[in-house]
């Protein structure tokens, strides 16, 4: 395997919250190889978006380190790593035209003269499936799908080596979602991008990724290539996630299946030992005391005593 493009080492991010501390990300180590797409999946509050923001340097880590291309992330050129945001309504400045929004990254990084920038914006708009005339429009004049295409164009205009997609399609309607996913697939292929693809939807993550990492309450519980994870999930939480996803086949959907009991605990005061133990069907007394480390089991890395 080649040297990773992105590497997280023992990454920790805590936020002070009133009386306690939100342990948003607690000791996560990950790596993404060049050209690879790593999917990151989990429910709300599992820390996946915090990881995206740490990688994009919106947050500073509380502990641990992030390496980009073998060097400290802080020294990396920001242009090499770009992000596609979740909410196509909130991610574009309402007071700038689409053209201006797309031009901003070029201005910041002093790329090209006015004419070159204009051409680049027009070409990219076309590439993401939008008419170049849209450059004169304001975000509120566009549909959700069009806005998300603009968001993708903005992420690509600096020719990044890597993109981070944080719930990039979860705010879109089903019929538009497929369009945007296809666009992402095409562009990734065409530009040889490395990607971190984050979503709560395991099916989407599996479709888009080479490898998948599953998070629960700020920690990694399982990591494997997409097919082993999908067909032979090892961690009880991964299994529960797969079981909980609604089936599209009405006859299969009616068969009873094991559902997780209880609710997601608060990340302010996570359970001791294995954080999943209060909801885990396999939990033993040991799980209450001892946090399982991530270990290699077959093709997967799993953090469970009984996997």
């Amino acid at each position: 395997m080649s040297a990773p493009l992105l590497e997280l080492r023992g990454l920790v991010k805590h936020f002070p919250a009133g009386a306690g501390t939100v342990r948003a990300v607690d000791d996560v180590s990950l790596h993404v190889a060049p050209g690879e797409t790593l999917g990151l999946v989990g429910e709300s509050g599992c820390g996946k978006s915090t990881i995206a923001r740490l990688v994009m340097r919106i947050y500073q880590p509380s502990a641990g380190s992030i390496l980009f291309d073998g060097a400290e992330l802080a020294r990396a050129d920001r242009a090499r790593m770009q992000m596609v945001f979740q909410d196509p309504f909130a991610s574009l400045n309402p007071r700038e035209t689409i053209g201006r929004i797309l031009e901003q990254p070029l201005l910041v990084h002093r790329r090209g003269d006015a004419a070159e920038r204009r051409d680049r914006v027009a070409a990219l708009l076309q590439r993401v499936g939008l008419r170049p005339e849209l450059a004169q429009r304001y975000p509120h004049e566009l549909s959700g799908g069009q806005r998300q295409r603009v968001g993708i164009a903005r992420a690509l205009i600096l020719h990044p080596a890597m993109i981070v997609c944080d719930e990039a399609v979860s705010a879109l309607d089903v019929s538009v979602r497929a369009q945007v996913l296809n666009l992402l697939l095409e562009l990734r292929e065409e530009l040889g991008l490395t990607a971190l693809f984050i979503s709560h939807d395991l099916a989407v993550v599996r479709h888009m990724s080479d490898r998948v990492a599953v998070m629960y309450l700020g920690q990694l519980v399982e990591q494997a290539d997409r097919d082993s994870l999908w067909h032979a999930p090892r961690h009880p939480y991964t299994r529960a996630l797969i079981a909980a996803a609604p089936r599209l086949d009405p006859s299969a959907a009616r068969t009873p299946r094991a559902l997780l009991q209880g609710d997601l605990p608060s990340p302010i005061d996570p359970p001791p030992g294995c954080r999943f133990h209060p909801r885990c069907p396999l939990a033993q007394p040991r799980c209450r005391q001892e946090a399982p480390a991530l270990r290699q089991v077959g093709a997967a890395q799993v953090a469970c005593h009984f996997a």
């Binding site: 994009m56 790593m81 909130a90 574009l92 309402p94 007071r95 901003q104 304001y138 903005r154």
Partner: protein, 282 residues
């Protein structure tokens, strides 16, 4: 902010009844303040006619005279200039301090924010008018002290608004996007946050002007006006003793204050309506 950044703002303002009404009223008051001295030349402090002449009694002094026989029309015109000037300048000071404090606190958060917020809270705890009274009294009444005192007591509301806007916008995805494409802090604030944070501040500033004009009138009413300047509050304060016999001496300048403040309030509300939906619609 360029006009093109707000599509249809002027249109929205013109169809907004309160904004249009406020603008018309304001234009009238401004016109009066500018051309008034041509219509009623002479010193508003000078005795022009017999004292306590009722309005309409003598067309040479259409609005009558006060206890000292000073022409009320000339006084009102002078008051308009003073009120508008003090209102505008003190609001500029307040908006400046408020925006700076609010922006710094909202953008940086943490201890910077904590310190600035404590200061803001302090200024909101101290009764602002009493503070203005003390400042003017200690530093001697003059136009300059009035402007400064009103400015100093008026900024907290703006600071809170700007801070709230910054806190909100700071977490918005388009601002984060600006950060991820590598924008420096000044560019981030100037191109991404401020254009979105300012509209409500502008709307609020018109309300601040209105409040400043009221405060100035109250200060002069208490006898803390510039002794060399005839302002509306001064006339009201002077007419108090003869309130029962000649209420118009207090009444007319009061109406002038009401109309001016009303004009700014209407304009501010109109601006608020016209500027806000853009952001609220997301």
């Amino acid at each position: 902010m360029s006009a093109s950044a707000q599509p249809g703002l002027l249109w929205r303002l013109s169809v907004n009844r309160s904004a249009a009404g406020g603008a018309v009223l304001l234009a009238l008051i401004l016109a009066l303040a500018i051309i008034g001295p041509l219509l009623w030349p002479g010193d508003p402090w000078e005795m022009a006619a017999p004292p306590m002449l009722w309005p309409g009694e003598d067309m040479a002094n259409p609005l009558g005279t006060d206890v000292m026989g000073r022409d009320l029309a000339a006084g009102l015109v002078s008051g308009a200039r003073v009120s508008l000037m003090i209102g505008l300048v003190s609001t500029l000071i307040a908006a400046g301090i408020g925006t700076l404090f609010g922006a710094l606190g909202g953008f940086y958060g943490g201890s910077v924010d904590a310190v600035l917020m404590r200061v803001t809270e302090l200024f909101q705890t101290v009764p602002s008018f009493v503070l203005a009274v003390v400042l003017v009294a200690v530093f001697r009444p003059s136009v300059a002290t009035a402007v400064l005192a009103i400015g100093i007591v008026s900024w907290p509301a703006t600071a809170r608004l700007v801070r709230a806007q910054f806190l909100l916008l700071r977490e918005r995805e388009f601002v984060l996007a600006g950060e991820t494409i590598g924008m420096g802090t000044p560019r981030l604030i100037l191109t991404q946050i401020l254009p979105n944070a300012l509209p409500p501040v502008i709307a609020m500033s018109t309300l601040t002007i209105a409040h400043a004009i009221q405060t100035e009138a109250a200060l002069s009413f208490l006898g803390l006006g510039d002794p060399n300047v005839m302002s509306w509050g001064t006339i009201i304060g002077g007419g108090r003793e003869q309130l029962a016999e000649a209420w118009y001496v207090c009444g007319l300048p009061g109406i002038a204050v009401v109309v001016t403040v009303l004009a700014f309030n209407l304009l501010g509300e109109g601006l608020n309506d016209a500027l806000n939906p853009h952001l609220q619609r997301r």
